[in-house]
Amino acid sequence: MRDLKVSFATRQGVVRAVDGLSFDVGPKEVLGIVGESGSGKSVAMYSILGLVRDANVEISGSVKFQGREILGLSDKEMQSVRGGEVGMIFQDPMTALTPVYTVGWQLVEQLRAHNDMTKQEARERARELLAEVGIPDPKSRLHHYPHEFSGGMRQRVVIAMALSCNPKLLIADEPTTALDVTTQAQILDLMERLQERHGSSIVIITHDMGVIAEIADRVIVMYAGRPAEIGPELDVVRSPRHPYTWGLLGAVPRADVKNRRLVTIPGNAVSPLAVPEGCAFAARCPHKMAICDERPPLRGAHQHLDACWLTDEQRLAIRSVATTRGES
């Protein structure tokens, strides 16, 4: 993806939901995209597949999938990509399935849309898929309606659907946000296992650094539609460079800290209507400088990039102060 920009013309003005996002996803790689809600994560991913249906949207940039430009393809041209080469998992499993059809019907529908299969073959494959995502008694569950499944089980169905045509890339938009904590862990486990088995690449969107630490190989931290920091998961989590990432990591409730206090980043997320020309995070940043009125470039070394004007020495100083004060 190169320099993706998505904006909506609204009555209040132009909403720049995504403002210059670039990244690559390698084969079998798990890329995490993290940021507060409203930072443009979903919009960025939906626009890849043309799922942003709004007459007032303007999308620019370039998205190449296996060397082919897919941004701006017509619905018809996009059909084989959607659900075939790229699978998608959504945030809310409660509403993601059509309520009036059985899950078997919905799986068969997708299988038959992409493969030359008889009803019987598709049904058999659907049963295998349900078994694979860990749904007990898959044969009879095929005949059940979405409302007869729990949230976690529904998300498994959605995952089965997304994987049904062996996609090369799986996009998961906050797949665990709507679930309770134990189910979250199970679903993440499941996704990891399936990813190993099928060898798909995954882009996983989340606002939870915990999820990133669990599953991602590489991370993009987004703020107000712009990338704040990009790097390998270990580097970003262990030695984050952007003040916004510092805040996000502070905001992760950590299981290993007894007296856990939810640290929040002071101030409100910047209004998408009024993203400043300079650094978008400046208004909330405790380390704001004069130069922050200019937009910082994304730069760094060893695949670990960030968009902040602070020098390495300044960062080191700030972080050592924070550690001596005690971060619990």
Binding site: F90, Q110, Y145
Partner: protein, 323 residues
Amino acid sequence: MFRYIIRRLISAVLVMFAISVMVFLIFFATPGVNPAARIAGRSASPEVLRHVSIEFGLDKPLPIRYLIMMYHLFIKQDLTSYVNIGYKIIPQIIAAAPITLSLVFGAALIWLVVGIFGGMIAASNRGKFIDPLIMFLGIATISIPAYWLGEMVNLLTQDKLHASLFPWLPNGGYVAITSNPWEWALHLLFPWLTLAALYSGIYARVLRGELINAMNEDYIRTARAKGLSERRILYRHALRCSLITIVSLFGLDFGALIGGAALLTEVVFGLQGVGWLTYQGLTNLDLPLIMGCVMYGAFFVVLASAVVDILYAYLDPRVRIVT
């Protein structure tokens, strides 16, 4: 599903019973009025009043009177009008019912087709000029009163343009479908169109709204992400879910119309259906006739709403009771 149907039908029967009791009480047990005088109509002689008293057992306690009434209505079916002496109510209603059924069935077919197509075309052409055009036509047909539209149609087809454009059109009235299907359709053509106009507008507007809501649902995004064609998404997912609303709306409208709510259309076109009969009963203060019509109407409304609920459960699995 089967048990659900049985349960729903039993409850329909209970509702019917409750309605019959209520209608009976309203007509015969309203305090301060003499039921005999009501039944016998205006300026009845003391002799007639006495006769009514005996026939309906007015000296007996209420429950007995209820049973006598129901006996006359449903079993012996010999309840007679005192205004138009000699007219038996039930056979009259039974004779009128096919006319109303013909009118409403034909109109319903037209308005379902027009309404559903209109709604779908409008919804899938949002933002183009055809959408507001259909919606405007919809609101226009909804706002035009049926009797005015009917009279205008009559004026044009039977009078002003009869010689030039509509010489093939019969002069009102009704021909049974069993005696001549072609004449039947010809006689009903304009009544159908008039009645259907109003409902087409309503259904097109409702369906458009439902479809637009449905297209914003998460499951539509999922369907699109599955790689389905836009056409399949519209028909198999959005329309299928929107139909649930249309079906329940339709059942209620249909039941009410069969029950006599097509009164204005029937009166304007001189079709002697149940609505027309009700109208006669009302203008003549013919109490037994009114009561018969009300019971008949209630029966169809209750029946229709039972059928709707069953269809609803068929269309929407969430409603079905898990047994």
